[in-house]
């Protein structure tokens, strides 16, 4: 039974942290779903653990079940690794809920730091998808991400420089889009809003997971919630005058709904990718279905499109050997490897395509992940649901290789059996995969797998007492976070003596 992504699509969480304390440069942020705008799920450097230490040290650090009268879903948190605030140096986990609340936890101490219920959720009755839950808030930051060129010319996102102190607001803030479609600028230190909220989306629109790149927030909405169209949205927050309303642009795609767990994806060159699902196709009339759209930044002009029957999957983008690649998933369980040329010509010929990832069928679900070894080997990870009899699902790892002058994805390993896994996260050569469970006979189990072999290193065993809620995984500073269907946030990782 495939649960609709839209039923669990979370608050779009994106958080760009300011420069960390100089003496604490190793503490990292997890800014958004998948950890970055490219949705790689890769925490590139975590100084808090090594692969060898996972088996010995990983354990349940804390769990929290916030007071949650609406019994709404908790979303995978975004993390500020080091807030230097008026109450001290804090690593904070921002947990949004599907009913317009925000809980902020001190991640070291398992203490509530601040919480706020916005109370703006408008009961949505206009479709089955919308009645599944209220609209969800979205976090963004005030940080400014700029692209710079790394040695060798590969464009990368720079760390967010500290914005100049602003007496009206402050240097550390998040953006929150509440159920009423209002963009709120929220002070991460105490939840205060220093400027009035601004309407950027239709009330009750239930945006996808957000993304932010070069001071533009991206989201998608699907027709049927709050009267919103099926559209891509770009909210430009680059105006230094934070009291000025942001510039909002949208592209109505008029076709099938947007799919995937991770919302819009932005590649390192700024191109915005969104994946639409099944529906009518007519490019001439901006009617895009079964299509991976490549859009220009800010103004959302269609740069190209690639058409193939899609899986319910957010694509992933990355730079490899100075080229920008996009990987998407097909309905029949294959991965398409694409570059910019794939969005031209006949719009349906990828650079290469894999065979179905599992021999017994099954589908790829949610999103894709990607990481790169120090030696340059690029890996792509996919979560497969279903398959041959007795196979619940798995994580499949593939290597990007050159074969006959052509880049191809070659299957390297497949994990142990996992029940409805969510897109994994990767750090320090370890893949963390969550077997979500089905909510009936199976509960959530987090596994640590050797990223090179898929060998199981560690698991939570039977510690987790509920199935997951399919909202995704977060990893930051030696801690892995996920939410379960009973409204609990679980945190496993390396203990820190306090």
């Amino acid at each position: 039974m495939t649960k609709s992504i839209w039923a669990v699509r979370g608050a779009a969480l994106l958080l760009t942290a300011c420069a960390a304390h100089a003496q604490l440069g190793r503490t990292l942020d997890w800014t958004t779903f998948g950890g970055d705008a490219q949705r790689t799920g890769w925490e590139k450097s975590d100084s808090k653990f090594t692969k060898d230490e996972v088996a010995k040290q990983f354990q349940l650090l804390w769990k929290v079940k916030p007071e949650n009268p609406a019994k709404s879903s908790l979303l995978a948190p975004v993390i500020i690794g080091n807030l230097i605030g008026y109450r001290g140096f804090k690593e904070l986990a921002f947990i949004a809920t599907s009913d317009d609340a925000m809980y902020v936890m001190d991640a070291d101490l398992n203490r509530m730091y601040w919480q706020k219920r916005y109370g703006t959720a408008k009961p949505l009755q206009d479709s089955a998808a919308c009645t599944a839950s209220n609209a969800m808030p979205t976090l963004m930051t005030l940080g400014f991400r700029r692209r710079v060129s790394a040695p060798g010319g590969a464009p990368v996102a720079s760390p967010a420089p500290r914005p100049a102190p602003n007496p009206n607001f402050g240097p550390r803030a998040i953006y929150l889009i509440t159920a009423d479609g209002m963009l709120r600028r929220v002070n991460v230190a105490n939840g205060a809003e220093a400027v009035p909220p601004v309407a950027v989306l239709p009330a009750g629109a239930r945006p996808s997971v957000l993304n932010m790149f070069d001071n533009v927030i991206y989201a998608t909405t699907n027709e049927g919630c709050g009267g919103a169209p099926t559209a891509v949205w770009a909210v430009d927050i680059s105006n230094p005058d934070q009291t000025a309303p942001p510039v909002v642009k949208s592209l109505k795609t008029q076709g099938g709904p947007f799919v995937g767990l991770g919302g819009p994806v932005v590649s390192n060159d700024g191109t915005v990718y969104v994946q639409t699902g099944e529906g009518a196709v007519s490019a001439g009339s901006n009617q895009y279905s079964n299509t991976l759209l490549a859009l220009s930044s800010k103004d959302l002009e269609v740069k190209g499109y690639f058409t193939a029957p899609p899986a319910n999957v957010t694509p992933v983008t990355f730079t490899w050997q100075d080229r920008e690649f996009v990987v998407s998933a097909t309905k029949d369980g294959r991965l398409n490897l694409l570059d910019s040329s794939s969005f031209e010509g006949d719009h349906k010929t990828p650079l290469s395509q894999t065979a179905p990832l599992t021999s017994g069928g099954g589908s790829i679900w949610g999103g894709l992940s990607s990481w790169q070894e120090e030696g340059g080997t690029r890996w792509v990870l996919a979560t497969v649901w279903g398959g041959a009899a007795g196979h619940n699902g798995s994580v499949v790892a593939l290597k990007l290789e050159e074969k006959d002058g052509k880049p191809v994805l070659s299957k390297a390993w497949e994990s142990r059996d996992l029940v409805r896994p969510v897109p994994p996260v990767i750090a320090n050569g370890v893949v963390f995969a969550l077997s979500n469970g089905d909510g009936k006979s199976t509960r959530a189990t987090l596994y640590a797998l050797d990223a090179l072999t898929g060998k199981e290193i560690w698991s939570t065993g039977s510690q987790v007492t509920s199935a997951g809620n399919l909202s995704g995984l977060t990893i930051a500073n030696g801690r892995v976070y996920f939410a379960t269907a009973d409204g609990t946030l679980w945190v496993f990782g390396v203990p820190l003596e306090i």
């Binding site: 230097i84 001290g88 804090k90 240097p171 230190a189 820190l496």
Partner: protein
Amino acid sequence: MRKRNIAVCICLAGVAVGADWPTDGGDPQRTGWQRNEKVLTKDNVKNLKVLWKTKLDNEPREMHSLLPPLIVENIPTRAGLKEVVIESGSSDNVYGLDAKSGELLWKKHFTYNSGKPQRMGGPLCPAGLVVTPTVGPPNATGARIAYAVSGDGMLHSLNAADGEDVAPPADFMPPNGKAYSLNLVNNTLYTTTAQGCGGNPNKVYSFDLATRETKSYNPKGGGLWGRSGAAIGFDGTLYAPTGDGAYVPGEERYGQAIIAVTPDLKYKDHYAPSNAAFLWKRDLDMQVTPAVFKYKDRELLVSSSKECRLWLMDAKSIGGADHRTPLYRTPLLCNEDVNFAAAGIWGSMATWEDTKGTRWILASFWGPAHSQFKPPISYGAVTRGAVVALKLEDKAGKLVLTPVWMSHDMDMAEPPVIANGMVFAYGSGESNAQASPELGLGANTSAIRIKNSTHATVYAYDAETGKELWSSGDSITSFVHFGALSISNGRLYLGAFDSTLYAIGLPGR
């Protein structure tokens, strides 16, 4: 062995003669204990008054203004023997004042002399005279030398009687650094530096007054910003906290630790709390100058940090075999919110021994008391700071620190001094918040903090109960940043941010 001990005792005795207060904390061990107080008693302390206040012409730099005063008596001046207050100011000034009248006897201003410009760098780096001087022992004629380090890093040797140079200035440290109180033992000066001010590394420095040789040792941690510099044990070992930094002993990086250094500045030992990683992450610096003392046949030291617990250490092995195990570790006294500013223990410790042989440890903290810290005697809710007194006890063969009393609430309690069964402490009135919700760390400017500061208040307490015996009320009109109380011959001295030096004592005595 015995000969060496005798020699050390002779040298140390030369520093602490009479009821002087020749160095920050009163002695090289930084005990804060005036053993020779005869004038002030629990009976008469209620009559304390501001005897005099002298406004000096020192210009504050950032938050820094007057440093802890030093007191030396029987100084042969042109006007006869005088008790002289040596006060230093952040704009490269040193003053000599008559302790009885507050009259300015002399002033010495050091002209900045370096190829590098003298630049302030925010509240942490005032780039001036920030090192509390120290005064050497008297020579055969009773003359004494005050040693001071100017903002350009030069060491100056001044005649305590008239401020004249008695030796040419000497290169000691790089310019624009941030060094902490000088200490003098066995004819060698010591200090520690921090905050990387002036782009300088954070080190322990020494200057041999005989050879005029400078040495340094870098523990490769954070800033060594125990406010009273390094405490020096009875065998000459230096003990200093290393602030906020990585603890990687395998790489000889001793951040978030207490280090023990030999007199010739070689690494000797260290103690790093078992939760050092957490302390580093949360910016809970090790920044409290330890106090060293003898207890029965042992030499012990006690220190703390912003975290707000005390560590009792044995000088023989301050962290035990694993360098992570002190003799005793108290529960948290304060800083339940785990804040890096306006909370925790800052500055230095204090210790004294009563006539019954009970050893007392005193600590001052900022911010609210911890909700689980409940000493037997307390005086109401503590939200802004307090002084805490603990007894050193032997329980079942294990040394422990047992809380006895916590003072009433005071506005940013500063390290106390002890004399004649009384504890003297002050709330600095300083705004120590370094961040605000609206500005984040942008709130850590001298302008904002000065504006939000109030005034210092000095208190006298019964040392055994913490009962307030006297308060200065509103008589001090400015706050104090990184100052300290000095006490000698019935008078307390405190320098305030507005460059006013206060002397508090008994009228007519």
